[in-house]
Structure formats: C-alpha cells, structure tokens
Amino acid sequence: MIDYISQPWAWYVSGPVIALIMLLLLWAGGEFGVSSTLRTFCSMSGAGRKIKFFDFDWRSQLWNVIFVIGAVIGGFFSVNYLNDAQPLALSQATIDDLNQMGIQFDGHLAPEEIFNWEIMGTPTGWIIIVLGGFLIGFGTRWAGGCTSGHAISGLSNLQLPSLIAVIGFFAGGLLMTHFLFPLIF
C-alpha cells in the first residue's frame, strides 16, 4: 500500500483529490483559496493600522493559516515517507529546452542549482526568488485569487471573472517562459 501510493500520482487521481479538498474545506466552513493567507499575514503583522485593506479580523481567517501549516507538514511527510526516490518523469522536449538555457535537469521536483540560498548572491536569484515572489503576492491580490481560488473554486462555480483571471495567469506564464526566460537565463 505504502509502496503503491509512494509512486507519483496520475493526473486522474490527483485532480479529483484536489476537488475533494475544495469540498472538505467548504464542508469545514472555509473555502479553497490559498493566496488569502498572504493578506492574513499582512493583517496579523499590524498592517491594518495604516492600511484599510488589511483592517479586518484576521482571527476569522486563522483556519486558512492552519490549512497551510498542514500543507507544509503534508509536503514534509510526502518527501520523507511517501518517496519512491525515482527521478521525475519529465518529457524529453522540456529537458532539451531547459538544457539549451543552461539548466540541467536533476530529477528533483525543482532544480536544486536554482532553488538554494547561494543563488541569492546572483542577480538571477533576486529575479526568480524576490521578484517572482513579489509578483505572486501582488498579482494574486489584485486578481482576487490564485490557482485555487480562481482556476478551481471560481471556474467550478462558472464565474466569468475567474475565466478572465485564468487567461491572465496563462498570458503571464507564457510571456515569461517564451520571451523573458531567454533574457534571464
């Protein structure tokens, strides 16, 4: 059993489980939207005293903070106890494309040559880590949600605004991957 679930999960298993998480969160009294936690952290740090947008009762959002703490634990648990130690089955075309940009495929979930603390000694590191994080925080709040809030929760509720947001997500992702990556790497 453990060996079985330690293999990578197929998309047709993973997708329904993600939908189940949305259902469980609604059942528990919350909703599925992870980027809201970033706003909660601003409010918890006292940003509400100066800025109205953060002036709300962050205690009412504590459940979502508990949820993301669970997400950290779930990640830790998976990598330590549900790990078959096989390299990621990335498509050869992607491996070749990344190679051309000078990024070696190392078989892990993320390239360890990029996602380590030493990268902060380079301009590339600041672009990926700091600018990348900033764009996630700024963009999701402006759009009022991220992949969970718009692509899953919003589209599941057939919301046109969520469709526009998801089109934006892909516009930004494609622009970065195909036009800006060659300038950064």
Binding site: W11, L38, F67, G75, T147, S156, I164
Partner: protein, 137 residues
C-alpha cells in the same frame, strides 16, 4: 477540534500537491511549453469534479459541518483586475514554478529558499494594499 480538521485537510493537500508533482518547477515549465498533458489533466479533472461538486452543493443546499448552508459567493464583476492582476501572477508563477499553495508545500519538501519567496509574496500583497486605490479594478 475545528482547527484539527483544517490541519488534516492541509496535510492531504500537501501530499497530493507533492505526489502529483504539481509543485514542480519542471512540471510548470513543461506545462507552459505544452510538452505534456500532465498538468492540464490535473487542472482539468479537478475542474470537472469541482463543477459537479459545486452544482450539487448549490442545487441541494448542502450544509457544512456547523449545520448552516454552504454559501459560495459570486466573484465581483469587471475584467481589469482579473486580467492585469492575473497576468502579473502568471509571470511570477512561471518564474518560481509555484502558485501560493505549492509555496508552502515546497517548504515542507525541504526547499527552504521558498520561505524567502513567501516573504516576498507577503511584501507584494502589502504593496498591493498600499496602491489599491490607484489601480484599475
């Protein structure tokens, strides 16, 4: 007790995001290069199930664990905030290979540098709060 529920749902989320490899920077690159069906399959099947679940909840007025009816709010109308905000997030999604959920899961996976990505994302959200009144929505 109430919080324990969220903790367990969060753990399940961390497991599925890791085992599905949806938190993988490589998988996100593969997706934006249209070189595999994997990520589209995950999002597509989650969405198919999600539509059924949401319609079921709305049609049959399903209650939550507290016994009150589950309310799923509509998003406010408009397009500018969704398109421009969405595009900025998409740039960050491709750069870091992560959306907000995976940021947390990746920290659990041992990529501690993502703590700095989360900190930057909190700053980004803060700056949005500062500039909110000057941005089109």
């Amino acid at each position: 007790m109430k919080f324990l529920r969220y903790l367990f749902i969060g753990i399940l989320f961390g497991v599925v995001m890791t085992k599905s490899e949806a938190i993988s920077w490589y998988r996100i690159q593969e997706m934006f290069r249209f070189q595999s069906f994997h990520m589209y399959g995950i999002i597509g099947s989650a969405l198919a199930c999600g539509v059924l679940i949401t319609q079921w909840i709305k049609r049959y007025k399903i209650n939550n664990a507290q016994g009150s009816q589950i309310v799923i709010n509509d998003k406010t109308k408009g397009w500018m905030r969704y398109f421009f905000g969405g595009t900025l997030f998409g740039l960050g999604w491709a750069l870091t290979g992560a959306c907000p959920g995976p940021l947390y899961v990746l920290v659990g996976n041992g990529f501690s540098i993502f703590l700095l990505v989360i900190a930057s994302a909190i700053v980004g959200t803060f700056v949005y709060g500062l500039l909110r009144d000057y941005l089109p929505h």
